[in-house]
Amino acid sequence: MSKKKGSTQVTIFPDWCKGCGICAAFCPGKVMIVDQTGKAKVVREEECINCGFCELHCPDFAIMVSPKNGAPERDAAQDDGPAAPAPAPEAAPAPTAPVPKAAASKAKAQKTAAKKAPAKKAAQRDPNKKA
């Protein structure tokens, strides 16, 4: 993906964002703010230089930076990102797999379900939950 300013689309998944402010504080283009609802919001998408900081440092995996339609893919020589991902292992799902948004709404549905269920039952459902 190109590092040219303005060639990216920055998406926040509000269901997953906890409004910690890391993205807003460190984004070199000041692309997002945390708004009154306590969630990150994209306000200057055209200033994004596709540095990748926000995606790597969002503790909740709630930001996605993707090429705008028709924007050239970043060339390999420019990629100083994380250790270049090796070819996907066989068992790993195809790269086109789960779109976070769908997963997020699923999670939300679960959340409401958990709310309705008595607290004790909800805890039982997760055998990994202990303290």
Binding site: D15, K18, E55, D60, P82, A83, A88, E90, A92, D126
Partner: protein, 277 residues
């Protein structure tokens, strides 16, 4: 860059409740992303990876990742992991522990796992505090710092995890931070591909239990603090000795290539079987 978030989502268990349970800005979440990317960079199949976690906020992250996972007991993750590696040496074993987990209750297991040089990667998410149980001081709470159990400041000295692991005989010892995710990815990817006992310490801010008691207004201030107070090992080594105390070096401290315990065991087994015939 779009591959980053999408990739992580591919390794999550979407039947778990998201967003995850960790507080806003908790560094453990960033470390989890780094673990996922580094496993992916190794090209390992999910089924060949075992993540063994202790108990604590740090231990919780194993619940969300779609590998073989074992959420064990507080302090004992390395003992379970040692058993797993000895029984199934072909598995890639990653152990996730908090600082309380790894160094207080589990300190004994840590030094012995390093001494035995059992083939796995131990990741210590060091937030200088017992996060999950309400902010008691841990053995890495810096002298003078405040916690629930040190309301007038910590009197004791804290462990230097890197020096401890080095002295105990670990094959590979590195320190990274949740603020430097690219470097952390490189460190973890390296650690995952190596023989013997590999230890990675990660500074992960806990604003809820540690930051608030130590004058950090919000999680962001804690990340700024990490950025100001750490330095790559190479640059740090060139500092005048009296200036070194102001900064904490990050990077790779130890790189040895001794074979892991499970490899030595297999060799012994082969030898003994051979002489029996």
């Amino acid at each position: 860059m779009s591959e980053v978030t999408q990739l992580i989502h591919q390794y999550l268990r979407h039947n778990k409740k998201f967003p995850h349970v960790l507080c806003p800005g908790c560094g453990h979440g960033i470390a989890m992303g780094s673990i996922v990317r580094s496993v992916h960079a190794q090209g390992w199949s999910k089924d060949d990876v075992v993540v063994v976690a202790g108990i604590g906020c740090s231990g919780r992250i194993a619940v969300y990742m779609d590998f073989n996972t074992v959420h064990t007991t507080h302090g004992r993750a390395l003992t379970f992991a040692t058993g797993i590696k000895m029984a199934k040496p072909e598995m890639h074993v990653i152990v996730i522990m908090g600082d309380g987990d790894a160094l207080s209750i589990g300190g004994n297991h840590l030094i012995h796992a390093a001494r035995k040089n059992i083939g796995l990667t131990a990741i210590i998410l060091n937030n200088n505090i017992y996060g999950m149980t309400g902010g008691q001081c841990s053995s890495t709470t810096p002298t003078g710092d405040f916690s629930m159990t040190t309301p007038y400041g910590q009197l004791e000295k804290s462990f230097d995890i890197v020096e401890l692991a080095r002295a105990a005989g670990a094959n590979f010892v590195a320190r990274g931070t949740a603020f430097h995710a690219q470097q952390l990815d490189r460190i973890m990817t390296t650690a995952f591909g190596r023989p013997g006992f590999n230890l990675v310490e990660v500074f992960t801010p806990c604003h809820t239990q540690y930051g608030r008691k130590n004058k950090f207004k919000n999680p962001v201030e804690m990340y700024k603090h990490i950025s100001k107070t750490t330095m790559p090992l190479e640059a740090w080594s060139k500092l005048e000795p009296e200036k070194r105390a102001e900064r904490t070096p990050v990077g790779v401290f130890v790189e040895r290539d001794e074979p892991g315990l499970e490899e030595r065991y297999m060799e012994m087994k082969k030898k003994l079987l051979g002489s029996a015939q």
